[in-house]
């Protein structure tokens, strides 16, 4: 039986993006990279600098994973969707704390850090970003 590979160095390498949405933005065209890069993948400029995506984004579209891949068996069905930040950057994300029927394209979502998966009984517990409907605070 295969399982998704959550190696500690990989998890460590991606920690700033996965926990804080730290990205690498092209200063020429604005394209966002989820990994440290020295060349923009859209315009090939080498003016790329660290940036952070906002904590809120709007929902573009969504679906539900009913047939899960390995290591996500216990979570299905779960919602995944596409969100768009105010700068136009689109991002794939898990969506949590709601039912699919509560979600409408255009609605505002906020970022939370959640458990993503666990690597067997003795392996890593992997955390990362998900989005949820904005909770109104008084």
């Amino acid at each position: 039986m295969l399982h998704a590979i959550f190696r500690p160095p990989v998890n460590w390498r991606h920690r700033r993006f996965r926990y804080g949405l730290v990205v690498w933005r092209c200063l020429n065209c604005g394209a966002v990279h989820q990994y440290a890069t020295r060349i923009c993948r859209r315009c090939r400029s080498n003016r790329v600098a660290e940036d952070r995506l906002p904590d809120r984004a709007r929902l573009v579209t969504l679906t539900v994973v009913k047939n899960p891949p390995v290591s996500f068996e216990k979570q299905a069905p779960y919602i995944v969707g596409l969100v768009e930040f105010e700068d136009g950057t689109k991002m794939l994300t898990g969506i949590t704390d709601c039912e699919p029927e509560e979600l409408k394209p255009g609605m505002e979502l906020e970022r939370v850090v959640r458990k993503i998966a666990e690597d067997g009984e003795s392996g890593l517990i992997v955390y990362g970003y998900k989005f949820r409907p904005v909770i109104k605070r008084r």
Binding site: M1, L2, A4, V10, H14, Q34, Y35, V60, T61, L62, T63, V64, V65, K66, N67, P68, P69, V70, S71, F72, E73, Q75, Y78, V80, G81, L82, K90, L92, T93, G94, P100, I116, A117, V126, G128
Partner: protein, 384 residues
């Protein structure tokens, strides 16, 4: 200018082959090429997408060369996700055009029945960026479902406009002895099959399949020295790439890599798309059939479903798509699929397609994708 020919083909019925491993499937399919003699192979390309994950078997070049009793012949595995077979054909085509090879054996082989259902979902998703997609439990089917929803909303279409593609594919496969699913189905069945990721239904996707197919490619010089029964010219081949994540493309519903590869391939023999009467397309999800046909210009945007209703893509229409059932019903043994597509065009152009025969076709073409169009391959074959 050198020319490239296909002088022999072989394929196995796409099936769950519990008693066979990769080596056994390869030897069986190549044994089927007995019409071509003698064996003098300059190079072997083995297409396989996930063998090193699922069978823990990499280095299929050397392994297959030995399996075939061809130790000494240069051999390499080619991996390009679901388009591995087409990528291997392109490599073989380039090797012959370059003059460095006169005979090239291209084999596609994949064995997915070893996978659990969760692994069968995991493996195609390897073609997307793992650190961004697979890491979150997002599947390739889920991304296809989002493209599907976007398509229905943009063109304000009912789902049946897309969901009728599988019905047509099963109709074609019902006459194809090598197809995995030779039963017919109805629109009602498709639309009431279990949801994979809404709106995508089970009968709009493929299922785990084992398969192997092979083609012997040769130059015109080699053609005069080998015995063969039938020949087809590989008249053009090309590939292109696109932004990997479809939603980051300028238009997620436009498969630009497919369009670029297709028109570049057509340009080699200098023909137009209307000259093609047999077309194999990569319908691993029903929505991809719509997007490919619209992206390469056979249908207006949003109109491929209407064109299916008009019979344009069926026998007697403008161009017959997936005459043996396509990925949907012939089956989708990932890395072998592109080679199946080419073998099927060969059978059509040599009049050996049996009950699936399309009459009067001089040109056949195929479009093969990896991921959701992040790379695309196109091949044009010509009757000789």
């Amino acid at each position: 200018m050198r020319r490239v020919y296909a002088a022999g083909v072989g394929l196995l019925k796409v099936d769950e082959r519990w008693e066979q491993s990769i080596d056994s499937m390869v030897t069986q399919v190549v044994d089927g090429l007995t019409e071509v003699r003698p064996w003098k192979i300059d190079s072997i390309y083995v297409a396989n997408a996930v063998g090193e994950v699922l069978q823990s078997q990499a280095n299929l070049g050397a392994i297959v060369a030995e399996d075939l009793g061809l130790v000494g012949v240069p051999a390499v595995r080619v991996e390009a996700g679901g388009a591995s077979g087409a990528a291997a054909l392109l490599a073989g085509y380039q090797a012959i055009l370059s003059g460095l090879a006169d005979t090239v054996l291209v084999i596609g082989v994949e064995k997915l029945s070893d996978a659990t259902p969760e692994e069968a979902v995991f493996l195609p998703t390897l073609s997307e960026r793992y650190d961004y997609v697979g890491f979150q439990g997002v599947t390739e089917a889920a991304i296809a479902a989002m493209m599907y929803r976007m398509y229905l909303e943009r063109y304000e279409l009912p789902q049946e406009m897309v969901a009728q593609f599988p019905v047509l594919m099963h109709e074609h496969a019902s006459k194809a002895p090598h197809a995995q699913y030779q039963f017919k189905t109805t629109l009602e069945n498709v639309l009431s099959s279990p949801i994979v990721s809404p709106p995508l239904r089970r009968l709009e996707t493929t299922a785990p399949a084992d398969g192997a197919a092979a083609i012997l490619l040769c130059s015109s010089d080699a053609l005069s020295t080998i015995q063969h029964e039938q020949v087809v010219e590989l008249a053009g081949a090309a590939s292109s790439t696109d932004v990997v994540f479809p939603m980051e493309r300028e238009d997620p519903l436009k498969l630009n890599a497919a369009a670029r590869a297709y028109y570049e391939a057509l340009a080699r023999p200098g023909i137009s798309r209307d000259d093609v009467k047999v077309l194999e397309i990569h319908d691993s999800y029903s929505i991809l059939a719509s997007l490919i046909l619209e992206s390469i210009g056979y249908s207006e945007l949003g109109a491929s479903g209407l064109d299916v209703k008009k019979g344009i893509y069926d026998y007697g229409g403008k161009v017959v798509i997936n005459s043996f059932g396509g990925l949907k019903a012939r089956g989708h043994p990932l890395g072998a699929t592109g080679v199946y597509q080419a073998v099927e065009i060969f059978l059509q152009l040599t009049g050996r397609a049996g009950a699936c025969q399309v009459d009067g076709a001089r040109y056949g073409a195929m479009v093969s994708l990896s991921g959701l169009g992040s790379s695309a391959y196109a091949l044009i074959m010509k009757e000789r």
